[in-house]
């Protein structure tokens, strides 16, 4: 085609200026907000030092948006919310209005369109997730499906203020953990070493890079059936799957042996305690599409105990810090195993070197 004859050099404009798409009340009061209130679940009221007010209505969507849904979100913005849309880090949609009288009609329009108002303050927020089988090249499960299944069950917790503090749930489809840290994380945990297709390794994989990628130096070059390939020391292998992305013939995903694990206590905030990483609480959970009922049941069990036992403002990590891990396992009735005792770098710091024991 003639239009392709001279390729167009890109305009390296980078990150666009957000002020052009920002609600005028937010532009006017930029950097000059006084306080906020939470009039009802899913609704925020921010008051500026100038006295200006802006109401925000937050709603959950399916995150993987089709164009019909995207345009529906735009229609709501045009009709009820001055034409502006903000997306939160957890892929919720936020509409802002400067007139209190617009809030209830906006909420009604959002609900009528099938979206779910909530996700503020001490609710279970939208589960942040990754691409999964829909689009990732290394996934052990389908994040979108896990999230849809869980949010169906946790919808009331999203819509109401039922929790001691906010709960951020994340999912990840491999052990790289792109979903990030969460109060509760549902992540793939492989339990068998990769299955290697030795016919393909030499042509597909840059072997030294794959050897270097292994966290425990379990991979070495080898001749297999006369062909250059790689072999795995299965006694050393921790089944993490790090070799699979650079070397697809080292298949780590397994219909039966790729399981789900649940981790708790990841918290990004500096509030009260320093930011914390999530800790293993349950594993060996079947990766069971299309609804993953076993994983959801464990998440709901943890949430139930947290809701009953934690004090106001305690995130899950704050709560467990107060009651101790033995009590956590006692209350949740989750089995405590040898796999909970860390063996990785710095593991000694996680051992109890004291007589601080609760009875």
């Amino acid at each position: 085609m003639s239009e392709n004859a001279t390729p167009r050099p890109p305009i390296e404009s980078g990150c666009p200026d957000g002020f052009q798409y920002m609600h005028p009340v937010m532009v006017k009061n930029y950097g000059n907000w006084a306080y906020h209130e939470d009039p009802e679940p899913g609704v925020l009221l921010h008051v500026a030092k100038s006295g200006d007010k802006i109401w925000t209505v937050r709603c959950g969507t399916q995150r993987i948006l089709d164009l019909f849904t995207l345009r529906k979100l735009c229609d709501i913005a045009d009709e009820f919310a001055d034409g502006y849309i903000h997306f939160t880090i957890r892929s919720n949609v936020e509409y802002m209005v400067a007139d209190e009288a617009q809030v209830q009609p906006l909420i009604k329009a959002i609900k009528d369109a099938g979206f779910i108002v909530g996700g503020t303050r001490n609710s279970v927020a939208m589960i942040s997730h990754t691409q999964g089988w829909l689009h990732c090249d290394i996934p052990g499960t389908d994040a979108s499906g896990v999230v849809k299944s869980m949010m169906d069950e946790l919808i009331t917790e999203f819509q109401e203020w039922n929790m001691p503090n906010r709960v951020h749930i994340t999912t990840s489809c491999c052990q790289i953990n792109c979903g990030g840290q969460g109060d509760i994380a549902i992540n793939i945990q492989h339990t068998k070493p990769p299955k290697i297709n030795h016919d393909l390794v030499a042509n597909v994989c840059e072997r030294p890079s794959v050897v270097a990628r292994c966290p425990v130096a379990a991979i070495r070059p080898a001749l297999v059936n006369g062909k250059p390939s790689l072999e795995v020391d299965e006694k050393k292998c921790i089944c993490c799957g790090a070799c699979f992305p650079p070397c697809p013939p080292m298949q780590i995903n397994d219909a039966e042996h790729s399981k789900l694990a649940v981790w708790i206590g990841g918290n990004h905030s500096n509030a009260r305690s320093k930011p914390s990483f999530q800790k293993l609480v349950a594993a060996g959970i079947p990766n069971n599409p299309p609804r993953w009922p076993e994983a959801t049941a464990i998440v709901k069990r943890i949430l139930k105990v947290y809701k009953e036992d934690a004090k106001d403002w305690e995130r899950i990590n704050d709560w467990v810090d107060r009651i101790g891990w033995p009590r956590f396992f006692e209350l949740t009735k989750l089995p405590f195993t040898k796999f909970h005792v860390d063996t990785w770098r710095g593991a000694r710091a996680s051992l109890n070197a004291s007589t601080h024991i609760r009875f």
Partner: protein, 416 residues
Amino acid sequence: MVKKYETPMLDVLEEGPWPSFISGIRRLADEHPKEMIQEMTHSLLGQLEHSYETRKGYWKGGTVSVFGYGGGIIPRFSEVGDAFPASREFHTLRVQPPAGNYYSSGMLRQLADSWEKFGSGLVTFHGQTGNIMFIGTTTENTQHFFDEINQYGWDLGGAGPCVRTAMSCIGAARCEQSCANEHKIHRMLVNNFLDDMHRPALPYKFKFKVSGCPNDCQNAIERADMAIIGTWRDDMVVDQAEIKAYIEKKGRKYIIDNVVNRCPSQALSLNDDDTLDVDNRNCVRCMHCLNVMPKALSPGQDHGITMLIGGKRTLKIGDLMGTVVIPFMKLESDEDYERLVEIAEETIDFFAENALEHERTGEMIERIGLVNFLEGIGLEVDPNMISSPRQSSYIRMDDWDAEAEKWNERQAEKAS
């Protein structure tokens, strides 16, 4: 004829009260007027059902980019393309959102119209790296879609071993806790490194994230190679009348249990007359009391930022938090912002020269030690960078006197 597939497992995900991504994809497949979109999405549903049945993924990466760039596209070729030919090529374009993720409906409609011409009709705001993800197009249409949206103001983000798309919170635009101009910091940093973003040549990825206060809503400390967190260094602002109003509403016990006793450095004390004392020298700016009583307590007025370097996820040596490398710096004058960019440049240059292949900044620092890294980028050690001093005596320190003198000189300089 558009080819359709049986999807009994996916059909189950159309049930239930939460909005269903399967229903959305199916609507494109069944109702979208454009045959290309129908074919691609039917085929996608077919492959996804196959994944659900076999519990395996069938996408493979490859090399696809647009003219002039080396990255920004997530190439996806189907391993089962013969069975699902219409989604054989199903690449994602990573497009940088405006800092803070603000959109007008007009701009979203313009993007939707372009995507309808060239893509599958699926889009996500946003992926975990902060990009708009336009999911599903062919190698050829990748270029056409980019050409069109690039003309009206959108640029690709990062993919591969490069500077990645940055993220920043809503911050000063709508949050009373904000202590920084997140928007300006975000754009200054990332737009200074567009060459390093579009032409991947670093040892591995490098991420900037900006949060306006220590609540760190962008998870910057846990996820960013360079985390910029707004903070303040003068006294927090206390409205004693609002404290009293809060006690009246919630009760004295509630404020003692939930505010005073939850202060991690015991810097709060409730007086007999229901006023609140704050020991500002011992406040660690954790944000808890401000979160509980946003009307009564506010950040101080002497704003600045704390910088932490080296946060990352699990691969390869395990999860790492960022480490403080700048406890506080003002960001007011042009020179202040220039200094911030300069530190980022020093960091990325040092990372490019010293990290091993596929090693993140945090892992590099773990390997070479924080002090070597600080010396490499020209920053001085500071006790705010550590939780506690060294516990082991196994270190050679015969130039102790010279190092102590450096500290004394810096202290004298600060005092003068």
